[in-house]
Symmetry: C2
Subunit: 546 residues, 2 copies
């Protein structure tokens, strides 16, 4: 028997409608690349989003057609978030920091009808345009006076489109499973793959993000959006903020510590979110200037960080310098992204400050709406005991069922579990600790050895500058760990000394079968170890000891 | 184009699964009618809910069949919440305080297969059973030792059913629009009507209830559930609490101030919710004993109240005595119930304590997920300006589309708006203030006059004990207000004196056309003015002045 409740589609347009009706005057503050502050509010964002919907119609962008952005965090980018999706088109946020070749691939693959870009990206646009035959026009996110000189066939002005369009528009109603936004993941191997979010997944994710133990947004909050709008929907913040009536502060491209500090203080920000690198710089800057700064003027009380693991010391510094709780959260583009958040449990009321920092160093515990499981080398489900190490699998309403255009084929098992490619433990309270990437783990005789843990131990040896652990082929154990070491300048550690050092610190069967000393280790453009190259070179390495 | 995200049904079973997995050890504390405390946790509630599902199967209760409860707040009632709904059956919570005739009507109308009852209701069950031919069995919520002597054909023991059933059970998957719970509204006229909630509406409502500006539940909270489980799903708390990992404290039938105080203190409750009457008694009791009580041992920081309007003085007393924020919330059985909650906005950071109390005296502002509108006498949509008075209409995913078995016919307009029967204003910030019931409002020449406002003014006259304002027929204005007054003992106010008193305080056209003095006014069993009777008697009253 069916219930007798209304069943209205969960649409992104209901978020901006709600914010406009109930928090219409709540500010949206943007800082442009020149540092100039622009102020608007939810009511105006809603009106302009409707104008934009009309504008897209006039440009002939059909229902379900993707529109790309190459833009920093600004109110114009935010109104694209609502105008494009609310009218049933797809917002494709492109990361302008990717290599131009990747951007070209992505925009072609997505078949974007138009590209909306910040004037600062004019040179990039000029470089891309000749290779993007499917793009019908390029829209500069500015007014007529600020129009950049760009040699492209069809150059349009965003404010021109807006001025010509009416704001008298009713959001269309459609199936809540309709696509809303599109984001490509930039994996280390292969072409980027598209994640196509739906209106339903976006709304459910926004609800989960607003829970008190996740973002915990209230109508009193002011959020500095350090995380870019092109990074997994800025973690869903544009949607969650509208749901709760949060003031948004959009910092544009400048994320240096001083710019962040100024906005936090002047806009009364209570909360913010961004990747650890930004916060590392910020905290170092604050610490240096502690004597000069009047920290009591900051209203900041909690900050979210994710994207890469958050060091324990960062949580300590946020606490000690600013009295701020650092919420370590985890997820992927493929998971919308929120899966876990390191919030406190009741038992932490009696925990020591150190125990709380330990907890904050985990990726956090699962939010309601997604399910987690750990799967061992033989496909068996492992216990949540904080010890068992397995691949982390996830399923739920904001987890992908497949990539755009079926790239990569079937990505979930028949029960819907998506393999994250991360290796982790989960403790009895549900806190997840990522220990390695699945592709980097050493599969030795049906058991897994974490490459990262051995690397971390190896670099604590006084003679070691950097270390990499990769799998080498073994006739009996399938794989065994091989340790590659770049010594510190002038130091000459021996194989035996390093192994002895490790033997005191890891289980016997984790001990690398051999150590190779190298002059340098290869890295990706973003500074990560390039293990694919190391594996290609050393997979067949024959250990001195068998 | 459809998104490529998973679309898993939103089912109530996912809530208890989540709580069992991520908050398995979080306590569920019950106090039975004898004051004995029972402790269990989410993991055990989940296991027992699965046992119950098996038990229902053995009893031959089919998918979609309703099962009734006549029970106070206890862990057994809570496991029925999950076991019955999770397995695809319908939980019908019956208010045991209704007249036996109403209960009989409701259980017959719902076609409940079994009735689970607290032993304390044995006499009621014996009285009801002969009139309920469709009920196949009566299940006492106790163990064998506590079984009451009840003369019914089939008497079963809850713990007996549980003991015989296995907990090895996988929740079935089904359409999220499937019915989950059933609650009857007891209107003042006509038969009670059933509201049939769905799994989807329940999950979406739980998400909204957990938002930081609504219940704001965290995993550190301990909630004393004063609101009964048979009252609109206890405002959705059983579901919201599982979503957030909240400790639940279930007080059984005893809601006297001392019992409440003891539980709040001993179970470290941070929050609670119940109707204003309970809190009025509680606050008076606390105030009297302030000197003896060690109030610093209470961890209570916020309390929700609703069901009837919350007096301003109650918010003040909660604040002054206990440092507690009283969240005035509003909704109806037909709206799951949460529609509005009186939480703070950013602008209240600069508000005076008095302004905050004023805000807390409103019904609050709309939560995301429901829409509100005000409709005037001629069907026109009215502005949200805090002045315009109209009928409050609501729509959204947790608002009914119709009553069970289509009682009352079509209850929404073609756009899905449900008329609440309440008359209200909405201010620019979205705060709703209920001013009257639609049936009590006086429709004078296309404008509305609030009966309640005139009554409140009239009783502030020193000679007036109680007042009622009803509509009397008028040839030109259709309706005009008639004021009925019961004077204070020994006082003899005159018509002229009362009207003069009012004239200084209301708009001229609101002034009653006549005043009638009576010895007493008729009331319902729950103490409300019985205006139907007054209207029947006085609708044709001829005013002295035309």
């Amino acid at each position: 028997m069916l219930g007798l409740m209304q069943s209205r589609p969960l649409l992104v347009s209901t978020l901006i409608d709600y914010a406009a009706t109930c928090h219409g005057g709540r500010e949206i503050v943007s800082r442009d690349p020149d540092g100039i502050i622009h102020r608007t509010d939810y009511a105006e964002i809603a009106r302009r989003a409707k104008r934009l919907a009309h504008g897209l119609q006039r440009l002939g962008v059909g229902f379900g057609q993707p529109v790309a952005t190459l833009a920093w965090n600004s109110y114009r980018h935010l109104e694209l978030y609502y105008g494009v999706t609310g009218s049933g088109r797809i917002l494709h946020t492109v990361n302008p920091r990717l290599f131009p070749d990747q951007i070209r691939y992505i925009i072609n693959h997505a078949e974007d009808a138009y590209v909306f870009f910040d004037p600062v990206f004019a040179p990039l646009v000029e470089q891309l345009a000749p290779h993007l035959p499917l793009v019908r026009g390029w829209v500069a996110l500015c007014d007529a006076a600020a129009m950049p000189a760009v040699k492209v066939e069809t150059l349009l002005c965003h404010e021109g489109i807006m001025a010509a369009a009416s704001e008298d528009y009713a959001w269309p109603q459609f199936d809540e499973n309709t696509a809303s936004t599109l984001c490509y993941t930039s994996g280390t191997t292969g072409n980027p793959k598209g994640v196509l979010y739906s209106h339903r997944s976006t709304i459910l994710h926004a609800f989960a993000a607003c829970a008190a133990d996740a973002f915990g947004f209230t109508a009193r909050d002011s959020f500095l959006m350090v995380v870019p709008l092109f990074h997994a929907n800025a973690w869903g913040v544009p949607f969650a903020a509208a749901l709760a009536g949060v003031k948004l502060v959009l910092p544009g491209p400048r994320l240096d510590p001083k710019s962040i500090y100024t906005l936090l203080q002047e806009e009364g920000c209570t909360t913010s979110g961004g990747v650890p690198t930004v916060w590392l710089n910020f905290l170092a800057w604050v610490e240096e200037r502690r004597a000069q700064l009047d920290l009591s003027r900051l209203k900041l009380n909690r900050v979210f960080a994710g994207g890469t693991a958050v060091p324990r010391s960062m949580s300590a510094k946020f606490r000690d310098l600013l009295g701020v709780y650092l919420l370590h959260a985890w997820g992927m583009t493929e998971t919308s992204p929120l899966v876990t958040a390191a919030s406190l449990l009741a038992r932490h009321q009696h925990a020591t400050p150190d125990e709380i920092l330990d907890m904050q160093a985990t990726q956090g515990r699962q939010v309601y709406g997604v399910e987690l499981k750990l799967v061992g080398a033989a496909g068996e489900t492992l216990p949540h005991d904080g010890q068992a190490v397995g691949e982390l699998k996830v399923r739920g309403n904001w987890v992908i069922s497949g990539y755009f255009k079926n790239e990569g084929g079937q990505v979930t098992d028949p029960d819907g579990w998506f393999g994250t490619g991360d290796v982790a433990t989960i403790d009895a309270d549900g806190y997840v600790r990522l220990t390695d990437r699945l592709k980097d783990v050493i599969k030795s005789g049906g058991e897994w050895i974490s490459s990262i843990e051995i690397e971390n131990l190896a670099v604590s040896h006084p003679d070691v500058f950097e270390a990499a652990v990769i799998a080498m082929h073994h006739p009996v154990w399938q794989e065994r760990p091989l340790l590659l070491i770049q010594p510190k300048p002038g130091r000459q550690p021996t194989r035996e000394a390093v192994l002895q050092f490790l033997a005191a610190r890891v289980a016997k069967w984790w001990l690398p079968d051999d150590v190779v000393f190298v002059d340098s280790l290869p890295h990706t453009a973003t500074g990560k170890l390039l293990k694919t190259e190391l594996r290609a070179r050393y997979h067949g390495h024959l250990a001195v000891s068998g």
